[in-house]
């Protein structure tokens, strides 16, 4: 009986989500594409028809056929299998980078808003400083300095995303701080820690989740861009940025499938993360419920 009175049951939430999606088919498409993408990424080694790195010199640079849906490349590798397997790496990089900047950014920004004074000014100026540089150049410099590895791409993407999360968390928490319900929580005997984790962060989550979703899109693009210019991930690893870079060289020779398919995968993924962000805001934000 007690559970009935607590925050919305799962069915309640699902019903709400369906309602929002029914009104917004574009978000709905994103909602279904992202889990599909995640499933494909996880299952890629089993779905892929060919070994993504196996060369087949008898069938080089063939256009899309029923055997090779996206065609083959210069050394006869199956482009479809490579696009599938590449999603694993790109999504993993994006996810870990965004989680890192989300956690650090929320704590840093939240602390700045809560304590005010010197910590606040310090965080504010540091984020300002970071944002005065073109962010992609910062990421390039960091990968160049840290060495070509997946970890350094993750780290660079996380640092580049950090100011957005820190600023957002700071503004959200400082708005929430002056809300009457926070004062009411204080009167109800909640300690500052309880108020932060029980009242402020849950209320800031909808906005932060939206930022996570758009941040994921940016991080995928960032990882692909770095490898596109030859930083971080090295061939022959299957990765969208590298594949586009390699394919771009051949596009004038008429081998369009080499660049188009990885580029399309990349575009679709980034677009869907952005659309997901918009849709999530409507579903998660309990305040817009009627």
């Amino acid at each position: 009986m007690r559970a009935e009175f607590e925050s919305s049951s799962l069915t309640d939430r699902a019903g709400r989500a369906l309602h929002v999606l029914a009104r917004n088919p574009v978000s709905a498409a994103a909602f279904f594409f992202i889990p599909t993408l995640a499933a494909v990424a996880v299952l890629a080694p089993w779905i892929a028809l060919y070994d993504p790195n196996a060369t087949d010199l008898d069938h080089v640079l063939q256009g899309p056929t029923h055997l090779h849906w996206f065609g083959t490349d210069q050394v006869g590798r199956d482009v479809f299998s490579r696009v599938l397997v590449a999603s694993r790496l790109d999504l993993a990089i994006a996810l870990s980078a965004v989680m890192l900047s989300f956690l650090v950014g929320t704590v840093v920004g939240g602390a700045a808003a809560l304590f005010g004074g010197l910590p606040d000014r310090l965080v504010g100026r540091l984020t300002d400083l970071l944002m005065t540089f073109p962010l992609f150049v910062v990421a390039m410099a960091m990968v160049a300095a840290l060495g070509n590895s997946i970890q350094s791409i993750v780290f660079a993407s996380a640092v580049v995303n950090l100011p957005f999360f820190a600023r957002l968390a700071r503004s959200e928490i400082s708005v929430l701080r002056s809300q009457p319900f926070v004062e009411a929580a204080r009167a109800g005997g909640n300690s500052e820690l309880h108020i932060l984790f029980g009242f402020m962060i849950p209320n800031a989550l909808p906005t932060l989740t939206v930022q996570v979703s758009t941040g994921l899109g940016w991080a995928v693009l960032n990882a692909a861009s770095l490898s596109f210019i030859g930083l971080g991930i090295r061939p022959p690893t299957a990765e969208w940025g590298i594949m586009v870079a390699e394919g771009a060289a051949n596009i004038l020779s008429g081998f369009w499938w080499l660049a188009i398919f990885p580029a399309a995968a990349l575009t679709l993924t980034v677009l869907c993360f952005n659309l997901l962000g918009d849709g999530l805001r409507d579903v998660i934000d309990v305040r817009t419920r009627r």
Binding site: R2, F5, R23, P180, S191
Partner: protein
């Protein structure tokens, strides 16, 4: 008054509906009314009755999802409906509007004088050359003192009442025939309200200006309107002269609305319709002021609070200090919100703190509730010096749960992500983490019953509850930990009078059942009169008068108290009747 026979504004069978997802909502359903030139008509109703929508639809100011379904609107004999160009030519010229939130209705980056000039120039009532002179004269007319100095002031530099006067001046700039005033004084102090309403009334009389006053306050309408229309559920349930409607109404809704409005000479229980009254005897005078010999539960000694305003600028302040401006501006940066307040409170007493905005009443209640640190003074609660415990660590004090607060904004003070159940449970869990789940459930349900909240509503989120239900969740949340002292900070100021009547009665019942001591902070003297034994009158951070409630209302000794009491728009004698 021998007015011309043709009405200035005639509305017939007006219906307005709004499109929301899931269908259309009818907001106004067949309203007919008429206003003669120079007449003042009051539309009275509770929130959601359709009174504002009616007014907005007359001049084509409906929100995008609204539409007029049927009806006729005639202004000076001309049909307004369905002719956008005619509406535009009438709006702001023939019919002027003033709104509820005056500061929001003004352009924040333009001086008020210039805004009045704009109004004069756009309506073609003055040329560029003489508009400044005319604007100044208008500001004078709406009784803005030292109008010359304030001509160049920006809206944020003026008080709310002053901003409303500027808006009236802007409305008058066009020399309209009809002024629609939508809750013109809601949110303003009673004394300011009185000045604004008197100004409006006199302007109406001297210029032959007809006024449509839209208000939730029956007392206000009674005082300033010749005729009153009562709206409920999108319909006008009754129209008539002020006395007819207020004193001899046969319509049950009107009777209930009038009865629910607190006024002198009425007991708390009389606010409720007879069927809803709880079965208990009316409190008599003798048990009101229960005298005990126990030591007081609360002893406040020379409490003071000073805010430092310039502090947040930080770096700039530091710089200016470095460059030798140190101390120069320090006096100006201080703001004494509460100064040297002392009082004691006996167990079971009901203390009212009354004052206008900025009087320090809320600051004081927050210090007593230990949500804010005082700058000076001591607070003893049941013998222990709680004033010595900083507010930041008071959550760990065992006294925390003995002092509880019911906050002003019922919706805002509830965490939007907590259901009503979780909101009420939260303080209970903090006060006694070891409580078993069954006991928690039992106590939460008991507290919600005490507060008059149906336990079936406990699973709802705050925004799924009505205003009155939200207020009750707030009360249940304070009661669930069984406090000794309850601080009520304007608990009903955002509620409709009929809901307020129920909530006030519930609070009164609880106070007697549980032997609570409470402090009621309010700007509404009528509520204080009903709910309190003793009253502190505050002004600019000081207590100007402190006495028992009868003395305060019947024989106030301080002129400010008298001014406050006189400003209450009370029901019995409409101003118009007096004048005739």
């Amino acid at each position: 008054m021998n007015g011309p026979s043709r009405p200035l504004l005639a509305v017939e069978d007006l219906a307005v509906s709004f499109e929301v997802h899931g269908g259309r909502i009818v907001a106004v359903d067949g309203v007919s009314l008429s206003i003669m030139p120079g007449e003042t008509l009051g539309i009275v109703g509770e929130s959601g009755s359709g009174k504002s929508v009616t007014a907005y639809s007359l001049v084509g100011l409906l929100a995008g999802n609204g539409r007029i379904d049927r009806g006729k609107v005639q202004f000076e004999g001309q049909d307004l409906r369905g002719d956008p160009r005619r509406i535009e030519s009438v709006r702001g010229r023939g019919i002027a509007f003033i709104f509820q939130n005056p500061r929001a209705a003004l352009n924040p980056i333009r001086s008020v004088g210039d805004q009045v000039r704009d109004a004069l120039e756009t309506t073609g009532r003055a040329e560029r050359g003489d508009s400044a002179q005319r604007a100044l004269a208008l500001l004078d007319q709406v009784r803005i003192e030292r109008a010359k100095e304030r001509f160049g002031a920006f809206p944020h530099e003026l008080s709310g009442g002053m901003c409303q006067r500027v808006l009236i001046a802007m409305a008058l700039a066009a020399e309209p025939k009809l002024l629609i005033a939508d809750e013109p004084t809601t949110g303003l102090d009673v004394t300011t309200q009185r000045v604004i309403m008197d100004t409006l009334y006199e302007l109406g009389a001297s210029r032959g200006l007809a006024t449509l006053l839209i208000t939730h306050d029956v007392g206000l309408a009674a005082r300033y309107c010749r005729r009153i229309a009562v709206m409920c559920g999108g319909k006008i349930v009754e129209t008539g002269s002020a006395t007819e409607v207020l004193e001899r109404s046969r319509v049950p809704y009107t009777q209930q609305l009038v009865a629910a409005t607190p006024r002198a000479g009425r007991a708390l229980i009389e606010l409720l319709p007879p069927g809803q009254r709880a079965p208990f005897e009316v409190r008599t005078q003798s048990d009101r002021a229960a005298v005990t010999n126990d030591p007081p539960i609360l002893d406040v000694q020379s409490l003071g609070k000073t805010f430092h305003i310039g502090r947040s600028i930080g770096l700039l302040t530091a710089l200016s200090q470095r460059f030798g401006r140190n101390g120069a501006a320090q006096g100006a940066d201080r703001f004494d919100a509460v100064r040297d307040v002392s009082f004691t409170l006996n167990r079971g007493t009901r203390l009212g703190i009354v004052g206008e905005s900025g009087s320090g009443k809320t600051t004081m209640s927050r210090m007593i509730a230990r949500l804010l640190d005082q700058t000076e003074g001591r607070i003893f609660f049941d013998g222990s010096n709680i004033g010595a415990v900083p507010s930041s660590s008071f959550s760990r004090s065992p006294t925390r749960h003995r002092i509880q607060v019911v906050f002003q904004d019922p919706l805002g003070s509830l965490n939007p992500r907590f259901t009503a159940y979780e909101a009420i449970l939260n303080p209970l869990r903090r006060s006694d983490p070891s409580l078993s789940a069954e006991l928690q459930l039992k106590r939460v349900i008991a507290a919600s019953r005490q507060s008059g909240l149906d336990p079936a509503l406990l699973r709802r989120f705050p925004h799924q509850l009505s205003g009155g239900q939200q207020a009750r969740v707030g009360i249940a949340r304070a009661l669930v930990v069984q406090p000794d002292l309850l601080i009520l900070d304007e608990p009903t100021s955002s509620l409709d009078v009929s809901v307020q009547a129920v909530v006030l009665n519930q609070l009164d019942l609880l106070q007697r059942q549980l032997g609570l001591t409470y402090i009621l902070v309010s700007h509404d003297l009528n509520v204080i009169r009903l709910m309190c034994d003793r009253v502190l009158v505050m002004r600019s951070g000081r207590v100007v008068e402190s006495n028992d409630v009868e003395t305060i209302f019947n024989a106030p000794s301080h002129p400010y108290t008298r001014e406050l009491i006189d400003a209450i728009p009370d029901l019995p004698v409409p101003l118009m009747e007096n004048m005739q």
